[in-house]
């Protein structure tokens, strides 16, 4: 029975009937009626067994992705990168270089896909927009007093409006972790709703800072809270704390978006960010997407990597697949 699979089953068949009418969150509309209904709903979600979750993530990490599958996964991963620079030292020159890299990641190979977006601070949005003008690359801006989120709501909303006015296509907000950990879920919810409104047509990514929420139960609750409040994407981390995206927390969030779509018909994207540096890691995340949420999420409209150094590793692996040998860091651009 050499090589080829004789079978693997009707994959990702949707066994739960999808709502046929226009998708709205109405199936769950009343859970956000009050602080107590929201709390009851979030605390009523099934618990997460940490050992089991991590074992499942580790087991998906043993999938062996070779040859054509690897080539597909690497190109898909490149197309999903939100190429990010979030430094106090960012300058227009740095952001322009990043934009050029996002549009054409490998100057020696025009078949390489562009990244999904560049991700910058609000004051760099205008520069970034110019740098990617005419391409498919979006400009995402962090906002809401990123990364700590410790500011008054007015200030956060002004931050958002500033980024949107400068042309941001996507807003990456942070939730108020202090309020979440204090159990003030409605405050977190209201803030997301307000930011969503201020974002207008820009797609909203909601960052939970999973490393600060600490438990998997909290990450599941935060995921549902964010989706109920209208998040277009749920995102693990800012990249500014000790623990960022992990296979396990991303798997958990993928279960959440899968289950949310089954209940409401609304599809929400997922963005792990921080700590994903190698192609091997990126491919493992794509396997987790494939076998958890399914192929509907294998598209940069629904899945992103928040990363910077990852891109060059993906490009080196891509060159290796094309030429059969490793090129080395001098054959990809340093920006």
């Amino acid at each position: 029975m050499p090589g080829v699979y004789s079978c693997y089953a009707r994959r990702y068949a949707r066994l739960v009937t999808m709502p046929t009418n226009a998708p709205t969150a109405h199936a769950l509309g009343d859970v956000t009626a009050s602080d107590s209904t929201l709390r009851r709903f979030l605390h009523g979600l099934p618990g997460v067994d940490a050992v089991g979750l991590e074992a499942r993530a580790a087991s998906l990490g043993t999938r062996s992705i070779k040859t054509t599958a690897k080539a597909y996964a690497i190109d898909l991963a490149i197309s999903m990168v939100d190429l990010t620079t979030l430094e106090g030292a960012d300058t227009p020159g740095k952001v322009r270089a990043l934009g050029a890299k996002a549009v054409r990641p490998d100057p020696t190979d025009r078949t390489s896909p562009s990244t999904a977006a560049v991700c910058v601070y609000p004051d760099m949005v205008a520069t970034a927009k110019e740098a990617v003008a005419g391409s498919s690359v979006k400009v995402a801006s962090v906002a809401t007093a990123f990364p700590a989120g410790r500011a008054a709501l007015d200030v956060k909303l002004a931050d958002v409006r500033d980024a949107v006015a400068a042309g941001a296509d996507e807003i990456d907000m942070v939730i108020d972790r202090g309020a979440f950990l204090a159990g003030k879920y409605m405050k977190v919810y209201d803030e997301i709703v307000a930011v969503k409104e201020a974002s207008g047509a820009a797609r909203l990514k909601v960052i939970f800072e999973t490393g600060e929420l600490s438990t998997y139960d909290n990450i599941r609750r935060a995921s549902w809270l964010g989706m109920l409040a209208g998040a277009d994407f749920i995102k693990t981390s800012t990249g500014k704390v000790a623990v960022n995206a992990t296979p396990a927390n991303t798997l958990l969030m993928l279960e959440a978006v899968r289950d949310f779509r089954e209940q409401t018909g609304i599809q929400v994207g997922v963005k792990p960010a921080g700590g994903i540096r190698t192609s091997k890691d990126a491919v493992k995340f794509l396997v987790i997407v494939n076998e958890t949420a399914g192929e509907d999420w294998l598209d940069n409209h629904w899945f992103r990597f928040g990363a910077s150094s990852l891109l060059n590793d993906l490009l080196m692996q891509r060159q290796k697949l094309a030429t059969g040998r490793y090129s080395g860091p001098d054959y990809v651009t340093v920006d």
Partner: protein, 477 residues
């Protein structure tokens, strides 16, 4: 956008060199059977003949037992620390040769390389390391000062975990100072014969370990041999009963590890996604050919629909096919005989009115295959809820209260394993204390460790293997 199809990722067969024929391993040498009989072993995924194996008859059993008896004198007199050195050496060689042995086991048994690589082989090495550690500490094991070995152990093992069951049998026997005659199953003799080679590589004294491939009659001759002091058997309940009758009235010490019909109990407050993984591990690990498989799913009625939807979705992602492919989740059934037994019981399940479901699944045209299957609308009265199927077939039953769950779980002639899924710690303890099963997993399933004793209640057998308890079966205490 194209779908993410995993390209074939086969593990190389080149790491293992299977000879066209193998003899019996008696007194440190490979020899032909006295009557010259041989049988063939095939790869269940392709039906390719892998090798021709000498088949042990009564005369060979006698020769092997005599060799073991002769070796016993010196082996049992060695200080425990010296026996430990051999066991540590064997454990290290197993680790060094683990890739070769994993590929070999996958070829001969049909189970996926993912399992032999990540479960069987690490556990085999761990078992030898664990009992190596006991060899010089027997005085402190709780069996009194200077506990003595029994003598010659006759061991008969099944085909579902060929090398792991060998480790479970041989490691504690040697650590305690016994010598061994072991009969592997007729469908999976190869890894035991490779183990014989490892014994030689480790310099183990001749006759301490003897391997006699053969069918049931070879096993029966071994069990019946008057100079065998200890019988250890893992396999079917029917054969276990026959052995119990055979040794009744003799001085032979016996442990039997037999069938099971494990209940995997999922309460409404369970961590659902992890419970689904546990159900899958419980019944589809090793194609369900596991004596402690969670073959009965007892789900609280209030979450049945939700859980079954999740479970079916998960089953649809299982990858069935070439066992040597690193991405294969479900491999081949071990033999035509076993496949036919599974098929018969599944047909009976349908005939008795249970509802059968499998993910749409095309099976390879050669080899022995069975699609992952689940049955709903199953009651305690159905044959598929009572009889051990020993295949990738899950029977789903419901319950309303914890009392009912316990009553149904215990309502079985078996009592080997059970699982409890709930986020409530007090419920885990309360339910576990009422379940009559030798191994109870909470919020996990099919987790094995050499430090943990394993064995059954009722028709699942008696005696414990593994852990400190596992020493007792090989000591005169």
């Amino acid at each position: 956008m194209a779908t993410f199809e995993y390209a074939p990722a086969p593990e190389s067969r080149a790491v293992v060199d299977i000879a066209p024929s193998y003899g019996l391993f008696i007194d440190g040498e490979f020899t032909e059977a006295a009557d010259g009989k041989v049988f063939k072993t095939v790869s269940p995924s392709t039906e390719e003949v892998l090798s021709e194996i000498a088949q042990a008859g009564e005369a060979d059993v006698d020769r092997a037992v005599k060799a073991a008896r002769k070796a016993f004198e010196k082996w049992s007199a060695l200080p425990g620390s010296e026996r430990a050195k051999y066991l540590f050496r064997i454990a290290r060689i197993i680790q060094e040769r683990s890739r070769e042995l994993a590929v070999l086991e996958t070829l001969d048994n049909g189970k996926p390389i993912k399992e032999t690589r990540d479960a069987d082989l690490p556990l085999v090495a761990a078992h030898f390391f664990y009992y190596a550690g006991w060899a010089d500490k027997l005085d402190h094991a709780g069996f009194g000062a200077n506990p003595q070995p029994l003598g010659v152990a006759g061991q008969v093992i099944p085909w579902n975990f060929p090398l792991l069951m060998l480790a479970w049998k041989i490691a504690p026997a040697l650590a305690t100072g016994n010598t061994v005659v072991l009969k592997p199953a007729e469908t999976t003799p190869l890894s035991a014969l490779f183990f014989a080679d490892i014994c030689r590589q480790a310099g183990l004294p001749k006759g301490v370990v003897n391997i006699l491939p053969g069918y049931g009659d070879s096993g029966a001759a071994l069990v019946a041999h008057p100079d065998v002091n200890k019988v250890a058997f893992t396999g079917s309940t029917a054969v276990g009963k026959a052995i119990a009758r055979q040794v009744a009235g003799t001085t032979k010490k016996v442990t039997l590890e037999l069938g099971g019909k494990g209940a995997n109990i999922v309460f409404d407050d369970a961590p659902i996604d992890q419970a689904v993984e546990g159900i899958v591990t419980g019944i589809f690990f090793n194609q369900g050919q596991v004596c402690c498989a969670g073959s009965r799913l007892l789900v609280q009625e209030s979450i049945q629909d939700e859980l079954l939807d999740s479970l079916k979705r998960r089953l649809s992602t299982l990858r069935l096919g070439d066992p040597l492919d690193k991405n294969t989740d479900i491999g081949a059934i071990n033999s035509a005989e076993q496949l036919s037994r599974i098929t018969t019981l599944v047909e009976q399940g349908e005939a008795e009115g249970a509802e059968r479901w499998s993910p749409s699944c095309e099976l390879p045209s050669s080899g022995y295959w069975f699609a992952p299957t689940l049955f709903t609308n199953v009651t305690q009265a159905h044959t598929i809820a009572r009889d051990e199927i020993f295949g990738p077939v899950l029977s789903v039953l419901t319950f309303r209260t914890p009392e009912e769950a316990v009553a149904k779980a215990n309502n079985s002639q078996y009592g080997l394993s059970a699982g409890i899924w709930t986020e409530k710690g007090s419920r885990i303890l309360a339910v576990a204390s009422k379940l009559r099963a030798g191994v109870i997993w909470s919020n996990t399933f099919n987790k094995f460790d050499p430090t943990s004793p394993f064995g059954g209640y009722k028709e699942s057998g008696f005696g414990r293997e593994g852990g400190r308890h596992g020493l007792e079966a090989y000591l005169d205490v």
